[in-house]
Amino acid sequence: MNRLQVELPGLRMKNPIMPASGCFGFGREYAELYNLSLLGAIAVKATTPEARFGNPVPRVAETPGGMLNAIGLQNPGLTDVLAKELPWLAQYDVPVVANIAGAEAEEYVRVAEALSKAPNVQALELNISCPNVKKGGIAFGTVPAVAAELTRQVKQVSNKSVYVKLSPNVTDIVEMALAVEEAGADGLSMINTLLGMRIDLKTRRPVLANGAGGLSGPAIKPVAIRMIYQVSQAVKIPIIGMGGIMDAEDVIEFFLAGASAVAVGTANFVDPFVCRTIIEELPEQLDKMGVSRIGDLTGAGWR
C-alpha cells in the first residue's frame, strides 16, 4: 500500500505533492537537481496564446515571511509549450497540470482546448486569479458569475479535468467556490497570491515596477488554511491546497483543513529540493499522527 497515494479527478498521484504553477517553470531547472518522476504532479507555468515578456523589473520584493511578485505571466506561448515544453516533460513519469491564462475568455478557451489534447497533460488549472496582468487573470476571478461562465466555456472544450484556481482577493470565497462548482469545475486549487505592496523609503515609490504584486510564502498560510477550511465544507469537489507550504507539517495542516493534495510554491525558491524533502518526510509525519494513509486526513480538522 502506498500511504501517500491520492486520487483526484484526472490525477492519479503517487504522493500529494506538486510544485505550484509559476514557481517551477516547466521543470527544466529543477530536473538538474532531482528526478522529477518523484513528484506527485507538476503544475507548469501559466500558458497564454502568445509569448509574453511580462512586467518590468524589479519583479520581486521581500516581506516578513513572504515575498511579493509581479512577474506578469511571462511564458513562451502556446505553440512553444505544445512543441517543446510538454514533450520534454513527457520523459518523466509524472502527470502535468497545465495552467491556463489569457486576456479574454476566448483566449482561455483556445489555450484550454489545445493543452487538454496534449498526452501528458492530465488536468487543466484555470488561472482566474493572477493579480499581475492588466487584462484577464484576476478580472475573471472576483465576480462569481464571470468565473462560472468562463469555467463553463473551458469545460466544454476540454477533455481533461478542470481545476479552477481561486483568488483570495474576494469578500466571500465560498460563494466563488460554489459558483465554479456549479459551472462544472472538477476541482479547486487555492489560494493564489494576496495583493500587496511595499514602498521604498529612499525613492518613496513602490518597490515593484508594477506597483502592486502578489504576496506568497508562509505569511499567507493562515489565510489559505482558513479559506480551505471554509470552502471544503461547502463544496463536494476536491481541493488542491497551497499558500506558504514550507514542510511536511504544513502539508498535514492543509489536509486537516480540507485539501486532497497540495502545491508547493515559494518554498522552491528558498530550497530547490523542498518538494523532494517533503515527500521523504511525510511518512514519518503520518507515523507520528498514527495515520495509515494521508488521504484519511482530508477535512479531519472539521469532520
Binding site: V57, P58, A61, M246, P272
Partner: protein
Amino acid sequence: MLEPGRFVHVKVSGGVDPLLRRPISICDVDKTLGRFKIVYRAEGKGTQLLSERRPGEQVDVLGPLGSGFPVDAAAPGETAVLIGGGIGVPPLYCLSRQLTSRGVQVVHVLGFASAKDMFYRERFEALGPTHIATVDGSRGLQGYVTDVLRAEGMTTCDVYYACGPAAMLRALEASRLGSRGYVSLEERMGCGIGACLACVCRLQNDSEGAAYRKVCTDGPVFPVGEVVL
C-alpha cells in the same frame, strides 16, 4: 578553475525572515583549502544578519551559480581594463588574478562612495595599476569611474570587464571604451536557478519583443551589446 563573476545564493538565517536567499558574487577561491571568499556590504536586514554569523557556524549556500566573466576573451599580452563600482568590485579580484596569471596586462578602475567604503586597494595594486574614484572625493579622484577614464585618457583598450550599478554600466557602454566588453548585472532575484523569472532583462536586438535573458543563469555577466542595460 572557477569562472570569475559567478555567485552563491546564501540563506542568511535558518527561519523564514528574511525568506529568500541573497545572491553574493564570489571574490576569491582557494581550491586547495576548499575555501571561497565573499565580500559584501552589511546594509539590509539580510546581509546584516549574515554579518553576525561567527566562524565555525554553518551557512546554507547554493552554488556556484550563473555564468561569469570569460577570462579567455583577453589574450596574453593584451590590456584589460577592470572597472568596478562599490559592491561590484569583489568579483573583479578573482578575475584580475586569473587574467594576470595568463599574462594579460590589467588596469583597475574602482569607484566607491567614500574612503571608508574602500576595500582591497592594495590587493588590486599588487596585480596592476589601480585608479580610485570616490563620490565625495575623500580618496582618489572625486567623481565616478567614468571620470577616471576621462582624466587618465583611457579611451580605448583591448577588452574591458565591469561590475557595478546599472548607471555605471550604461555609461561604459555609451563610452565605447573597447570593442570587447563584458558587464555583470545586478537584479533582485528569487530562485537564482532560472525558474522564477524574477531577474530577466531584454535583448538589444528585440527590445520590445518577448525575448529575454535571465540574469541568474544566462548572466550575471553578458557581453556588451547583448542585453538592454
